[in-house]
């Protein structure tokens, strides 16, 4: 291969130019235009849109009774948790709860109360659900029970903050869970390890509560608290069955949970 001098200069100029053009085009394309990488992108965009609607329907209790997360929405849920939108959604609800709590004048008799559910409200079982298809697999009570007995569920940053702020305001904190009485000590220890402390009551399902629907059981428990003189100003739960029924709190705060439904 021979390169006469004039050709060398020509090639050098041409190649420099080519590098510049190449760089300019690449950066333009990536900055301003989001090109579909394949036909799958429009399908995935339509699926993403459906899964967002499904999630909204679940959170607003429009979906009614449902058993498992639609398999096509698993990756959408994974993104929802991994990219931080779940945490943001939770924080905004907790912010509204605290803003409301601050408007209440406490009587100072220790009876101004706030009710918290535990699973997916104070403690996160996301690690378990990640290993079980984000709620797309049918509920496995044995496997879930094993997970609960490990006692390693972390708290939500936003719920721990809300819990401590309400405690500081002087609310009596009532923990009301669908967990069984036999899980009391592991639940207590798990809550303490996750940073929660100073609750007034930890109410679990006793013998007489077996087989009761969640809303019935929880309404009865709240009713007992009301009879003890507690004023239930707020209630935080991830299920509508934590919040509805009778003896409901003055305000209910539904924190997000698109992974399972408890009737």
């Amino acid at each position: 291969m021979a390169f006469p001098r004039s050709n060398s200069i020509f090639f050098f100029t041409f190649l420099l130019f080519a590098i510049l053009i190449n760089t300019a085009i690449s950066s333009r394309v990536s900055s301003f235009i989001k090109l579909p990488t394949s036909v799958d992108e429009s399908v995935s965009s339509s699926l993403e849109s459906y899964c967002a609607s499904w999630r909204l329907a679940v959170e607003t209790d429009n979906a009614g009774k449902w058993t498992v997360v639609p398999s096509q929405c698993v990756s959408s849920l994974e993104t929802y948790y991994d990219k931080g939108q779940f945490d943001k959604d939770y924080s905004v609800v907790a912010g509204y709860a605290y803003a409301y709590a601050k408007t209440i004048t406490l009587k100072g008799d220790g009876k101004d109360a706030w009710v918290f559910d535990i699973d997916e409200t104070l403690l996160s079982n996301l690690e378990y659900y990640k290993a079980h298809g984000y709620g797309s697999e049918p509920y496995n009570s044995l496997a879930f029970n094993e997970w609960v007995l490990q006692g390693t569920a972390p708290g939500f940053a936003a719920s721990l903050k809300l819990f401590n702020r309400l405690k500081k305001l002087g609310f009596a904190l009532i923990l009301l869970t669908g967990r069984d009485e036999v899980q009391r000590s592991v639940t207590e220890q798990n809550l303490l390890d996750a940073g929660y402390s100073g609750w007034e009551y930890l109410l679990l399902r006793g013998h007489e509560d077996q087989g009761k629907a969640a809303a019935q059981y929880k309404s009865e428990q709240r009713s007992r608290m009301v009879k003890k003189g507690y004023r239930l100003h707020g209630n935080t739960g991830d299920q509508w069955s934590d919040l509805q029924g009778f003896s409901v709190a003055d305000r209910s705060f539904k924190v997000p949970n698109p992974m399972y439904y408890i009737p």
Copy 2:
């Protein structure tokens, strides 16, 4: 500038290599890493995330009483409507409502009923709200009344479909609106123009209902229907005050409306 032959080959090889490396890096970066193009992108992404959380809090009734859409979320709402996610969200709720309706065995006495709100449930005032900052401007009853009197609000495709499907199933359709009795004829004509027909009742606010909170007024109206022997199987509304209170329907369906709140 002098280029001896050996140097020419060296430069040629070097530049070719540089082009290849440059191309490889550019395409890798744009395929796998979404780099912020400017500081604004992370701000807008964080704002988008906040506005999504705000909208979820509103739809789940966690936000409580609110007056105007936060100004920083106006463009997010514009996108929500323009890009079709609102329609998708509405359709999914309507789909759940119809799926539930099909499970009901009608008695054939004409008393199996479904309650519909009108504004933002059967008729869309989006055109009005687009001209008024998507709910970011304080409510202007005079301007809104003028818009209502034009009688040009279109229906939602999904609500018209649901309405007709329920009619076909044999449900008595009860329209229950916060609009005033003086707006009866313009409302009737607007509904007909939008494609709705064959409702059983169109209930508007009379003299005795002035000043009543929406949930109270609507509960009283539903209660009257129940006393007439109607079985309220379903209720569709864009406000929680359409759906809560007393004499509530067996199932309530909250269709999306992030533009305003009626206590």
